[in-house]
């Protein structure tokens, strides 16, 4: 039963999906014309529990709902990234060939896949809210966990500028090199050097003392760093672990599709082990991974609505609050539907484009 990749969910067809988007947009336009969406410009008069950016009770509905979309995106993006990293590692352990470790990795996948996400979210919520009070918080490498949530050290504005500068420099270097000297070897090294130089330059040029803000106890709470309230951290942990189990299966299934002959041929050419993995097996496995991965990502985006169970103010929860407060049920449901459709379609389109980009001549796309 482990030899399958879950493909039943997701994989929404683009044509029908974009038709749906169109219909929802038209419905919203009609609703707008008939004055049914005017309430979106009224102030909400309530505050969200967690908001990715500052939100106040005087904000209009459209802004509050927009912030809730941002909340959903933040949770989905962070947990999808973490889940992909963990899932990839678990998959590699599974196929590593070591019997003990691969058995353990299998157990990990089975364990987190076979329990409902809500149950996992509620469990982590209970765990975090049973932690000691901030004064007796559990501290580990700058991370402080208490019953009010978890505070983690984070980059200061200056450090983020440095990182952005480094990324831009690396990209520029890569593009330039590709244009000027197409056959130059070691492009990555030069680009990396450019990145480090740019990062260092930005951090030296801008005045400031430290690159990290570290949470510190002041009064009854932590100041500094980034504070992840209980509901956010429990959602993040639950979704990352739950998603990683599915992603591990997808990646493992992808590697199972790599023909054995390819690996053997690579070995016969005396390629080093890292090159066999990176240049032969990974590109071949990617073909079978990208599409199911895309549908798994849309599943995870939809799964953020489980956050309501632990009081996380995601798109679904905020829509419900708005319905409660304003009474515009149908209009708000339309708005939420539109948001979900657009989010999911974006992911599916990216996955399709990537799938197209990674097609290998001579191998029919799976």
């Amino acid at each position: 039963m482990n030899h399958r990749i879950s493909t039943a969910r997701g994989r929404i067809r683009l044509s029908a999906g974009s038709l749906l988007t169109l219909i929802v947009l038209i419905a919203m336009a009609v609703a707008y014309v008939t004055d049914n969406l005017r309430f979106l410009w009224d102030a909400t008069a309530w505050q969200m529990g967690f908001a990715a950016v500052q939100q106040s009770p005087s904000d209009p509905y459209w802004k509050t709902i927009g912030i809730s979309v941002l909340n959903t995106v933040v949770v989905a993006a962070v947990s999808i990234s973490v889940a992909t990293v963990i899932g990839g590692m678990v998959a590699f352990v599974t196929i590593s060939g070591n019997a003990l470790w691969s058995k353990l990795a299998r157990c990990y996948v089975q364990f987190f896949r076979n329990m409902p996400l809500i149950l996992q979210a509620l469990f982590w919520f209970a765990v975090v809210s049973h932690l000691p009070a901030p004064r007796q918080a559990v501290k580990f490498m700058g991370v402080a966990a208490s019953n009010r949530g978890v505070s983690v050290p984070f980059l200061t504005g200056e450090a983020m500028g440095a990182v952005a500068g480094a990324l831009v420099a690396a990209l520029l270097a890569l593009c330039l090199l590709r244009r000027l000297r197409p056959f130059q070897r070691g492009r990555t090294w030069i680009a990396g050097g450019a990145a480090v130089a740019a990062g260092a330059a930005v951090s030296i040029l801008s005045p400031g003392e430290s690159l990290f803000t570290v949470p510190e106890l002041q009064g009854f709470n932590f100041v500094g760093g980034v504070h992840l309230p209980t509901e956010l951290i429990s959602m993040l942990i639950a979704m990352s672990l739950f998603g990683s189990a599915y992603i591990a299966e997808i990646v493992r299934g992808g590697f199972a599709t790599v023909p054995r002959g390819m690996t053997e041929a690579a070995r016969a050419l005396a390629l080093p082990a890292w090159a066999i993995e990176l240049k032969v097996r990974v590109p071949l496995a990617l073909r079978a991974v990208i599409l199911p991965m895309g549908s798994q990502y849309t599943t995870l985006i939809k799964a953020t609505s489980v956050g309501l169970a632990v009081g996380f103010t995601d798109l679904f929860a905020v829509t419900l609050m708005s319905i409660n407060q304003s009474g515009h049920t149908v209009a708000l449901l339309c708005v939420m539907t539109a948001c979900f459709v657009i989010l999911n379609q974006a992911v599916v389109s990216i996955a399709n484009a990537l799938n197209h980009a990674f097609e290998i001549p001579g191998f029919s796309a799976s």
């Binding site: 076979n114 409902p116 765990v127 049973h130 609505s305 939420m336 979900f340 459709v341 999911n344």
Partner: protein
């Protein structure tokens, strides 16, 4: 590490206590399960009638176990036993017949409610999925695009939202016409969502059938209905079996979504079980129990599906 868990769960565990504060040994406080297992299993169902949901759950589990016997794997046998079990289940839970006192659905809860949603969802959803798949493949372009739209719309939206709309908002928006029992409405919505996902599996299964199969059936002068029943559907279902088993397992876990919209299902009643002053610190034990129960159900279902699959593959090879 394994030893630490064992020490916590068995050696240092407390099996009898009146509240979590009496669990001082540093190990697991299993006493909470002893004190609260009825809430976890049956929710708010009237205490003296608990034998009914217990019987109903046992019936479902027993049926699934008996159907292990592969001699019984015939389509008619499976269909009739499933329908019969569902009817007996509902009669036992609901009462009002054969001298059983009537218990309204808002008292249903715990594992029994989870099982109810699952049984209703799957039994109604499967035929619906087949129907939607056939509609989507129909040559009438109007019918097929409507089916495609409905299926894609349902699959794009989170299930919580659909269940919430049907369960909570429908009676507010359309008073009178769409009222009726909240639990049944949600169960039907659940079945509908299941059907939409299932229909994609059936459709994919049909696409994988070589075209000559249908042509051969036509050459034998089989009617359209017989072609479907004897040639196309059996092959489509077999092709889609791995995906169906995945979906069945996922659906069992997704019944827990109704906890969000205010039902006392297995997940929600776990929260209630430790959610009072006496047992507030015994959350780990309760979640462990409920989690393991979900885990074993899901694993069991997956294992059964795997057996069925291997069996059918033997038959085909």
């Amino acid at each position: 590490m394994g030893w630490l868990v064992f020490e916590w769960a068995v050696i240092d565990a407390t099996w009898n206590a009146a509240s979590a504060n009496e669990c001082v040994s540093g190990g697991a406080c299993w006493a909470v399960l002893k004190a609260r297992y009825r809430i976890i299993l049956f929710g708010l169902y009237p205490y003296e009638e608990h034998w009914r949901p217990a019987m109903a759950c046992l019936l479902v589990i027993a049926t699934i176990t008996v159907l292990q016997w592969s001699r019984l794997w015939r389509a008619s046998m499976l269909t009739w036993s499933a329908v019969l079990v569902a009817i007996v289940f509902v009669v036992l839970m609901r009462g009002g017949l054969f001298g059983l006192p009537y218990v309204s659905t808002d008292r249903w809860g715990g594992f029994a409610l989870t099982l109810f949603l699952y049984v209703v969802g799957v039994l109604l959803g499967l035929p619906l999925g087949v129907g939607l798949a056939l509609l989507r493949r129909s040559t009438n372009s109007y019918l097929s695009s409507v089916a495609a739209f409905v299926v894609d719309a349902v699959r794009t939206l989170p299930m919580v939202m659909i269940l919430f709309t049907v369960g909570v908002l429908a009676p507010i928006v359309f008073p009178g016409s769409l009222s009726g029992d909240k639990l049944w409405r949600v169960a039907f919505a659940f079945a509908f969502v299941y059907g939409c996902y299932q229909s994609e599996i059936v459709r994919a299964g049909m696409q994988a059938i070589p075209r000559h199969q249908e042509e051969a059936a036509k050459a034998l002068a089989l009617s359209k209905y017989s072609r479907l029943r004897l040639v196309l559907l059996p092959q489509a279902m077999t092709n889609g079996l791995p995906a169906t088993v995945n979906l069945l397992v996922a659906t069992f876990k997704e019944t827990s979504i109704v906890a969000i919209i205010g039902f006392f299902d297995f997940t929600a009643s776990a929260q209630t079980a430790y959610g009072n002053a006496e047992w507030a610190n015994a959350y780990l034990e309760v979640y462990l129990f409920v989690g393991l129960a979900y885990f074993s159900c899901a694993t069991g279902l997956g294992w059964l599906g795997g057996r069925l699959e291997r069996r059918l593959q033997q038959g085909r090879a």
